[in-house]
């Protein structure tokens, strides 16, 4: 009997066509783990297994000390008994029901009276900026509204674990930022373990405490955002996961990150903002670079990671940044940990988003 | 293929089929003899067909079996047939009145009615009075069919008000259900009982209640093959035809 709060899962699933999934996930109460990986990596299968929609072939899944699915001895708790809250990709709102009925669905399925469930649903509508929309058909909702209803529906049953399958994938770019912030707030408020499935590194790094990279059914790396960016273990992690993410504040047309000023091409209106810089957009120079790019500064190399023909060179001050260059460049520059180095980033290479 | 060409091809195909249909008819007209015959004549006319074609190899008989009234409708609506053999004089009279018979029809054979019960007589039927019993499953031909009309005449003559459970559309389906044991008693033709011997038993209808069913036969006015039709009628009314009729239980007029 596993006697621990949160999710303790270590299981394997053999799907058709020889695809084998083997994962191990321990998520303590209040912690958010992101499962980050390309399509087909098995992410949705993990959600389905924890939610009880498919059975595992090996291992076990336990939640707050209760065994949900195990082979020896054979235990399988039906999905409706597990107390999981799932937010599905595509939301999967019941089109023939109103907003309130959707949110109240889980409660009414568990025996709550219609009146009581309706009032709980109403409260959730208020909490998620859906006031007055209780009786609207879900067919008439915008993308952002639908997403919030899906979130409310999952949270309303007071689940023991929250599973989010690509919660922001169905949204367009302008709605995504706000939705991500709202999601972040509610995730913070949720005291149980949280598992976030995504293929978007920004989402993973911003919302999760810990990121697990999954490829081909196996977890290839576990760590914080900085750790993965600094030392990606696989091609995929390097290509997609290893991205520089910086939080800053827009003021007078520039972005201030910590105490450092970054010049960007399109600055949004004043306020908190998110900068994304691909490691390959970070250039390294022995001397002050010519043409004086607006973002250039001198700093010290803090870490070098060599991978095949590429190198990841990281600096810590004044802002943490990782650059990806060829191994030859590193030799040509003659740098090592502790060396002095000039770093530059073109303003046009900085992606700015409202945070 | 160009869409317009396809359209013309389709039209031509349809036209060719229509034309060829006409030409085919004129060639086979002289060989085929279409005989529309009442259902109760189906067995005997099949034998008749075989014998006739042996004597007249130049002809090919096509038997069109059906209820007398249904056949009458077909003829009145202009269906091409050469000969009409009806189980009811009334039906034939209607055809004659419609001008569709070549000349006055002649009655070529007679039939009588009989009570039919499943082999073994499970309903313990003795006579016509049993048809009033409500515990029995009683079947008659529908009144609009000659067999049904005659059956009701028989029962009326014996002053019996039958408790009918089904009015079968033709005598064959009535016979089938009696043979299966689903119907305990029915009134059919004598010839039917002979053809279904082994499956049904029969109980004679008292002579004073019995009805004679007369079968008229006629050449039709719009016969596509009048020569063939005439030959068939001559054969049916010949000595050889009479022998076949008597073999099946029919009586000569």
């Amino acid at each position: 009997m596993i006697d621990a709060a949160g999710l303790v899962a270590d299981f394997g699933i053999d799907r058709d066509e020889g695809f084998v999934l083997d994962v191990s996930l321990d998520i303590g109460p209040g912690r958010t783990v992101a499962l980050l990986g390309p399509n087909g990596a098995g992410k949705s299968t993990v959600v389905a297994a924890i939610a009880g929609l498919i059975a595992i072939d090996r291992g076990s899944i336990a939640l707050d000390g209760t065994m949900l699915d195990a082979r020896r001895p054979d235990v399988f708790v039906a999905s409706e008994e597990r107390g999981v809250g799932v937010m599905f990709q595509d939301h999967l709102l019941f089109a023939h029901m109103s907003v309130a009925d959707n949110i109240a669905f889980g409660l009414r399925s568990r025996g709550m009276s219609a009146d009581e469930a309706d009032s709980v649903a109403s409260e959730w509508c208020d909490r998620l900026d859906l006031s007055g929309m209780e009786n609207r058909s879900v067919r008439d909702l915008s993308g952002g509204q639908a997403q919030r209803v899906a979130l409310a529906r999952a949270l309303a049953t007071n689940p023991s674990i929250l599973l989010l399958d690509e919660p922001l994938a169905a949204l367009d770019v302008t709605t995504k930022a706000k939705a991500r912030r709202v999601l972040g707030e509610h995730l913070d408020a949720f005291s149980g373990p949280k598992l976030l499935i995504t293929h978007d590194p920004g989402e993973a790094f911003l919302l999760a405490d810990e990121v697990h990279v999954i490829e081909g059914g196996k977890i290839t790396q576990v760590g914080s955002a900085e750790e993965i960016t600094r030392s990606p273990r696989t091609e995929y992690a390097a290509d997609l996961a290893g991205t520089n993410l910086l939080r800053g504040e827009v003021a007078d047309g520039v972005v201030v990150v910590g105490t450092h000023v970054m010049h960007v091409a399109d600055s949004p209106t004043d306020g908190p903002t998110l900068l994304t810089i691909h490691p390959r957009a970070v250039s390294l120079h022995r001397q002050r670079p010519e043409g004086s790019p607006r973002n250039a500064w001198k700093t010290t190399v803090s870490h070098i990671e060599t991978m095949a023909d590429r190198c990841r060179v990281s600096v810590d001050a004044p802002i943490p940044l990782t650059s990806e260059v060829t191994t030859e460049s590193v030799s040509a520059l003659g740098i090592e940990v502790g060396s002095s180095i000039w770093v530059s980033v073109k303003a046009t290479e900085i992606d700015v988003q409202r945070s | 293929m160009n869409a317009t060409i396809l359209g013309w091809v389709a039209l031509m195909l349809a036209g060719t089929m229509a034309v060829s249909g006409c030409s085919d008819a004129s060639e086979t007209d002289s060989r085929e003899v279409v005989v529309s015959a009442a259902a109760s004549l189906s067995d005997v006319f099949r034998d008749m067909e075989v014998s006739f074609e042996r004597v007249h190899p130049e002809f090919d008989v096509l038997l069109n079996i059906g209820g007398s009234a249904a056949l009458r409708e077909q003829i009145l609506e202009g269906a091409p047939a050469d000969v009409f053999a009806s189980a009811s004089v009334a039906t034939m009279d209607e055809v004659v009145a419609g001008g569709d018979a070549e000349r006055t029809a002649e009655v070529f054979v007679e039939n009588h009615m009989v009570i039919a019960v499943p082999a073994g007589n499970p309903g313990a039927v003795i006579g016509l009075e049993d048809f009033a019993r409500t515990d029995l499953f009683v079947g008659l031909c529908a009144e609009s069919v000659p067999c049904g009309a005659f059956a009701r005449q028989v029962l009326a003559s014996a002053d019996v008000d039958p408790s009918v459970d089904s009015n079968e559309p033709n005598v064959r389906s009535l016979l089938l259900k009696i043979g299966l044991g689903e119907i305990d008693a029915g009134i059919v033709y004598v010839t039917d009982v002979i053809s279904a011997s082994g499956l049904v038993d029969s109980i004679t209808v008292p002579i004073n209640h019995d009805v004679t069913a007369e079968y008229p036969i006629a050449l039709l006015a719009s016969a596509p093959n009048p020569a063939g039709g005439e030959a068939f009628i001559r054969f049916v009314t010949s000595a050889e035809g009479a022998a076949i009729l008597e073999d099946h239980g029919f009586e000569l007029p």
Partner: protein, 268 residues
């Protein structure tokens, strides 16, 4: 549609297809034209209120609605099991259920007679144990009619269940809904248009059933003579009644199909 759009879309269909399609429509239109041409319009009211016709209408309505209800009672669970449950021989079972669709109705009626007639394989022991006789009774008509029309409901609903996105059912389960709740509050509402279409088709088929009825249940006014049987019998002696009743049946069927519009073959 604007006139310009109209002309464009019509122009794109090849002429040849229109010709062939037109011939196809003619095939369906001709019998109705023939029927309307022969209808004795002035006598229609008296023909339709004669007791043969009234009995047949009453019987047909009772039996067709009853058959639809029976089809729902047994057919809906059957459709669900065929669509969702995994078991060996599922293809065989489905073929069996669809058999009445391809079998000539008379053959179906004869088979019913052999099986549950008074001397039938199952009918005989049933009769000696309970005294229950199905042929020549209204219940017999109900059985024969359900036999031929239930496959329509099964095939329509099974199709809808297969086509629907089952992830909605998963979502419902994860929210705490047990199997019956999922069925009642999610699955059924999602396939409801197809269920309705299935009911309509089943009822229409039930109304028109002839071969199995006359073979198995017999033909008796008031007890087993439904509308199609009444037409058949009337055709022999009372053509006007036959035409009048046929017209009624065509009107009813056309109404049902027009009301259904496209719904019965479109996925939910």
């Amino acid at each position: 549609m604007t006139d310009a759009k109209r002309r464009t879309s019509v122009r794109r269909t090849p002429v040849a297809l229109f010709v062939l399609a037109g011939l196809g429509v003619a095939l369906f239109l001709l019998p109705i034209v023939g029927l309307i041409g022969r209808t004795p319009w002035s006598d229609l009211p008296s023909l339709l209120t004669s007791d043969i016709v009234v009995d047949a209408i009453r019987l047909s309505l009772v039996v067709s609605l009853g058959a639809t209800a029976m089809s729902a009672l047994f057919g809906l669970p059957l459709a669900y099991v065929l669509a969702r449950a995994e078991f060996k021989g599922r293809t065989l079972v489905r073929s069996l259920v669809l058999l009445p669709l391809v079998l000539p109705p008379v053959v179906g009626g004869a088979a019913l007679l052999f099986a549950i007639g008074r001397r039938g394989v199952i009918g005989e022991p049933l009769y000696s144990l309970t005294g229950l006789v199905l042929p020549f009774s209204t219940w017999g008509v109900l059985v024969a009619v359900t036999f031929v029309s239930m496959p329509f409901l099964v095939i329509t609903v099974e199709g809808a269940l297969r086509n629907m996105d089952q992830r909605y059912e998963h979502a419902a389960s994860s929210l705490g809904a047990g199997a019956w709740t999922v069925l009642r509050r999610v699955t059924l509402p999602m396939i409801w248009p197809s269920v309705i279409a299935g009911f309509a088709l089943t009822w229409a088929r039930a109304l028109g059933e002839f071969g199995a009825t006359i073979t198995f249940a017999g033909n008796l006014q008031g007890r087993t003579q439904t509308l199609p049987l009444a037409v058949f019998v009337a055709l022999e002696t009372d053509r006007d009644t036959a035409i009048a009743v046929s017209l009624i049946m065509v009107v009813i069927s056309m109404t049902v199909l027009v009301l259904l519009r496209d719904r019965w073959w479109r996925p939910t």
